[in-house]
């Protein structure tokens, strides 16, 4: 089954890096948003399974985006992808409902491990 993925980052390069870091054998339908507001609008218009969310963005940043997702109970799994590696940032996003934190620059192997850990991607080596 195809997983619907939304990548939200204000940087075009970061969006591309993120998309390229997704496992090659993962059947996905990838969409992009440039800021939190765009992401929220897209999530409301069509449902997504997974959101890769940057924190530092104009218009609506990652923290505010997480708050809206939680307040409005939008059904989506959020993985925060950020260069802000302060322990406090990681704690805050988890409190706001993000399932995990992935540090930039993104690493394909780490993304894969996280996806397997949360059962989003099935580990074919163990089947």
């Amino acid at each position: 089954m195809t997983t619907k993925v939304l990548i939200c980052d204000d940087s075009k390069m970061a969006r591309k890096q993120m998309a390229r870091a997704l496992p090659a054998d993962w059947p996905v339908d990838v969409h992009f948003a440039q800021d939190g507001q765009e992401a929220i609008d897209l999530i409301k218009a069509q449902s997504f399974d997974v959101l890769f969310l940057d924190l530092t963005m104009p218009v609506l940043d990652g923290y505010a985006t997480l708050e809206i997702i939680r307040q409005e109970d939008l059904p989506i799994m959020v993985l925060v992808v950020s260069g802000d590696i302060q322990p406090e940032a990681q704690e805050r996003v988890k409190k706001l409902g993000a399932i995990d934190f992935i540090k930039k620059p993104v690493d394909a192997e780490q993304i894969k491990q996280v996806l397997i850990e949360y059962g989003i991607l099935r580990d074919q080596a163990h089947e």
Binding site: S11, M13, A14, L55, P58, G83, Q86
Partner: protein
């Protein structure tokens, strides 16, 4: 020379993203040193002329006095200066966080300024270097001025260059009155080299 270097939207975006990652690493170091949460801004990346640069600096600091440290870095045909500018009002707060007792004398302030500059400049420069696969060597930090105005700071340096790439990061610390600006300035020739290096990062 000034018509040679240019920055496309994609290149600017790339520098911004590289800076974003590097400043996150620097903020993490500062957060651990001071036991605080550092608020990360969106960095500004611009090609600027010296006159615009002065205006930028003045608008950053308003009328307050500042203290500044600069530190050169060089590697793989790329050279620049990291300029850290502290609002003087920040010192008392940093001293509190670092457990300095009582009022600070000038030497203690200097020491503190150097400590913070080492952490922020160093981590940021190395962070950018890592992503571009460059091992930057850094010079010893140099105090440009203590408790002076931005104009005083710039006066002796004004004729060395005309146009440069400037990356500007404004760090603030949550719940504390601490504010500093880190400016990374690259020479014109460096920008030509760096544009070539980042083209590999931007490739599909």
């Amino acid at each position: 020379m000034s018509d040679l270097i240019q920055l496309s939207e994609d290149e600017r975006d790339c520098y911004q993203e590289i800076t974003n990652v590097a400043m996150g690493q620097a903020a993490d170091r500062l957060a651990r040193l001071l036991g605080v949460y550092v608020v990360l801004p969106i960095p500004n990346v611009n090609l600027i002329e010296i006159n615009e640069f002065k205006m930028t600096l003045k608008s950053l600091e308003g009328n307050s006095t500042v203290s500044a440290v600069c530190q050169g870095f060089i590697g793989a045909g790329i050279a620049g200066e990291a300029l850290l500018i502290f609002n003087d009002a920040s010192f008392a707060e940093i001293a509190k966080l670092l457990d300095y007792p009582g009022n600070l004398d000038q030497h203690e302030e200097l020491e503190m300024l150097m400590d913070v500059a080492n952490v922020l400049n160093g981590a940021c420069i190395q962070g950018i270097g890592e992503q571009l696969d460059i091992d930057f060597s850094q010079s010893h930090p140099v105090i440009l001025g203590q408790h002076c105005s931005i104009a005083d700071l710039l006066e002796p340096n004004q004729s060395r260059w005309q146009r440069t790439m400037a990356i500007e990061i404004n760090y603030t610390i949550e719940d504390h009155n601490i504010n500093c600006d880190l400016l990374l300035l690259f020479t014109e020739d460096s920008v030509v080299h760096m544009n070539r290096l980042i083209s590999f990062l931007m490739d599909d």
